[in-house]
């Protein structure tokens, strides 16, 4: 009765047999080459991405004399191992150090404030773009994108002037405002993608139950979007922490307000400060980012490439 629907056992067995192609064919050779080549590529990329960071940590824990006497060494001898470089780079100039402790505090204040502001402004904006039919919604993304066509330094000229006039240049507040403005469009892009995936029926149920739109946003959408908000916040933090150009233009003559990025770039031009001490500064600059990144890698990359899957 139903036997003719069932595939004969012989045919089922034939399928995997067919895949095993005879040795010596082009296919077989290529498979072998690709199989080995794949590991060569994986390891090659690992070396290229990890060795520079290993080199950074390595140099930061040896004295400059050890580096100059044996520059080929890729290990640190126990007798050479030192953390004096970190003490030097972190302590204040008054204590004979480079003042990175202060720079760290500045960077933290700027980055955290930028995150708070970008989210505060970006969340309502992203929700509006995702859900609410206001005039001009269609064009807003286009305007944001168009602004990216210009080099950042073009914006910097008038901002430099304007901020000088209102007394914001040379202050961390000025920098926070610029970083917020630069990251809000990115935050909106990331958050909007998420708000759009929240089923509209859930929000409509909230509306029917008597919530206002703001109530829906606060009590339903915001809670559902929490992972996405986290990843957006982290992304903004990384942008603000890593930023260099505006810090350079606004704060270069105010050493006590330098961020870590600016501090390292300014001091790395000096011949008096040993490279190993500056490498310790590099580690101090990089470490917070690496910690955040590894703790939240999945969250972060998911938020950034949301929508890429659709092609």
């Amino acid at each position: 009765m139903s036997t003719d629907i069932v595939t004969p056992p012989s045919q089922v067995a034939a399928a995997p047999e067919q895949r095993r192609l005879p040795r010596g064919t082009r296919h077989h050779v290529q498979s072998r080459v690709f199989g080995i080549g794949r590991w060569v590529v994986i390891i090659g990329f690992l070396i290229a991405t990890l060795v520079p960071f290993y080199y950074m940590v390595l140099l930061s824990v040896k004295p400059i004399e050890a580096l100059l006497s044996d520059p080929a060494s890729m290990i640190v001898k126990p007798s050479e191992f030192t953390l004096q470089t970190y003490v030097n780079v972190l302590s204040s100039p008054a204590a004979g150090g480079q003042g990175f402790g202060r720079f760290l505090a500045n960077s933290a204040v700027v980055a955290l404030a930028s995150v708070a502001l970008a989210l505060l402004i970006g969340i309502p904006g992203a929700y509006a773009i995702a859900r609410l039919p206001f005039i001009g919604r269609r064009y807003i993304s286009g305007v944001f994108l168009a602004a990216y066509l210009f080099p950042a330094i073009l914006m910097a000229i008038p901002l430099f002037v304007g901020f000088t006039r209102v007394g914001l240049r040379g202050s961390l507040v000025g920098l926070i405002i610029v970083y917020t403005a630069q990251t809000v469009p990115v935050a909106i892009y990331m958050l909007r993608n998420y708000f759009e995936t929240v089923p509209e029926s859930i929000e409509e149920a909230g509306l029917v139950d008597g919530l206002s739109r703001m109530g829906v946003l606060r009590q339903i959408s915001l809670k559902l979007a929490m992972p996405s908000i986290m990843s957006t916040g982290l992304f903004v933090f990384m942008i603000a922490w890593n930023e260099f150009l505006f810090a350079l233009l606004f704060l270069v003559d105010r050493r006590e307000r330098w961020t870590v990025s600016l501090g390292l770039s300014q001091l790395s031009g000096s011949v008096e400060i040993p490279t190993t001490v500056l490498m310790a500064g590099s580690v101090v600059l990089t470490l917070p980012i690496i910690i955040i990144f590894f703790a939240t890698e999945r969250l972060l990359t998911g938020g950034l490439t949301a929508g890429a899957e659709k092609g």
Partner: protein, 330 residues
């Protein structure tokens, strides 16, 4: 990018119980503007307004010292454009910018494709490998440029030490300070733009993770069935990549190319921190910075920025035209 998708939801309001729905829609529209207003305010004040002011400045004679008391009604002139377009430096920097952008974008995307294909099949430790690949992209630019400068240092940098001890170089290569090196091969002396190639290599290293990230997301969402079918039909791995996988990656590669072109064309930090724009790496953005800070000529800096933005727009238009003709959709 996906605005078009959201727009389609709206016409539905016309259907059942039109009146009540429309008032809700109107209220939503008003609330939408309210929620949007902080964003608009910040972006207008800190992005759009400065951009427009810069464009105005490019038509005015303006030095950095005067700018403290400048107003919008200075007389307009084309002198800045004449000055920029008439300088030989501009044309050489434009050429350098093109070479740098093209080389960096192609290298970063090719490396991204290679890395993404290599880690496509699951293996132990794949998550860690993936995270390691993203390091160059997430690490602060000031730190990674400093590491590269130290590694490439002619005196004690590990690359030159390794090159001399293991690869048998006669002398250290000044990777970041040599404009043109000669490469002796088969009795020929081939000129090599050392510093420019080094900065392009740096860009490839730093930005391949960006392409990699988007490509593995796309690969993960791809159906394996067409490839399995091709395998049964006797396709080699290369054929299967070339004719099945790559065409499916093309839309995302096109998008990556556009984004990377825009960003690399305007790139300032990387070159400024690696070479300071010396040794034949003076791309346009560094030259604009020099106009502003060394020559203190605001008008010329603004004029060159505007010209570069126009060049970028022209490049992107040509690019989109080619894509459209080939039937790709971006």
């Amino acid at each position: 990018m996906s605005t078009a998708v959201t727009e389609t939801k709206e016409p539905r309001t016309e259907t059942e119980s039109t009146k009540k729905r429309r008032t809700l829609t109107q209220r939503d529209a008003r609330l939408g503007l309210w929620l949007m207003s902080p964003t608009l305010l910040v972006v207008l004040a800190i992005v759009i307004f400065p951009l427009l002011w810069s464009i105005l400045l490019s038509f005015q004679r303006m030095r950095l010292i005067q700018i403290g008391r400048a107003d919008f009604f200075e007389p307009l002139t084309l002198a800045n454009y004449e000055r920029v377009l008439g300088s030989s430096q501009f044309w050489s920097s434009l050429l350098i910018t093109f070479v740098y952008t093209f080389g960096s974008v192609v290298l970063a995307i090719s490396l991204g494709v290679l890395a993404a294909m290599a880690v496509r099949q699951p293996f132990r430790g794949r998550t860690l490998v993936r995270a390691a690949y993203l390091l160059p992209y997430v690490a602060p630019v000031v730190a990674v440029t400093f590491i590269w400068r130290t590694m490439l240092n002619p005196q004690f940098g590990i690359v030159n030490v390794f090159g001399q001890k293991v690869l048998g170089w006669d002398e250290p290569i000044p990777f970041l300070s040599q404009a043109v090196g000669t490469w002796n091969v088969l009795g020929l002396e081939i000129p090599i733009p050392t510093a420019l190639l080094t900065t392009i290599a740096f860009e490839g290293w730093r930005y391949f993770p960006f392409a990699f990230l988007f490509l593995i997301a796309r690969l993960a969402a791809m159906s394996g069935e067409p490839e399995e079918a091709a395998l049964v039909d006797g396709a080699t791995p290369w054929q299967s990549f070339r004719f099945i996988v790559l065409p499916q990656l093309m839309p995302i590669i096109a998008l990556l190319a556009v984004l990377r072109t825009i960003w690399t064309f305007n790139e300032f930090d990387d070159i400024f921190l690696l070479t300071g724009g010396a040794a034949g790496t003076g791309v346009a953005s560094v030259q604009i910075y020099n106009y502003l800070t060394v020559q203190r000529n605001v008008g010329a800096a603004a004029a060159q920025s505007v010209i570069m933005a126009l060049v970028l727009v022209a490049m992107l238009s040509v690019y989109l035209l080619i894509l459209r003709r080939r039937g790709e959709r971006v």
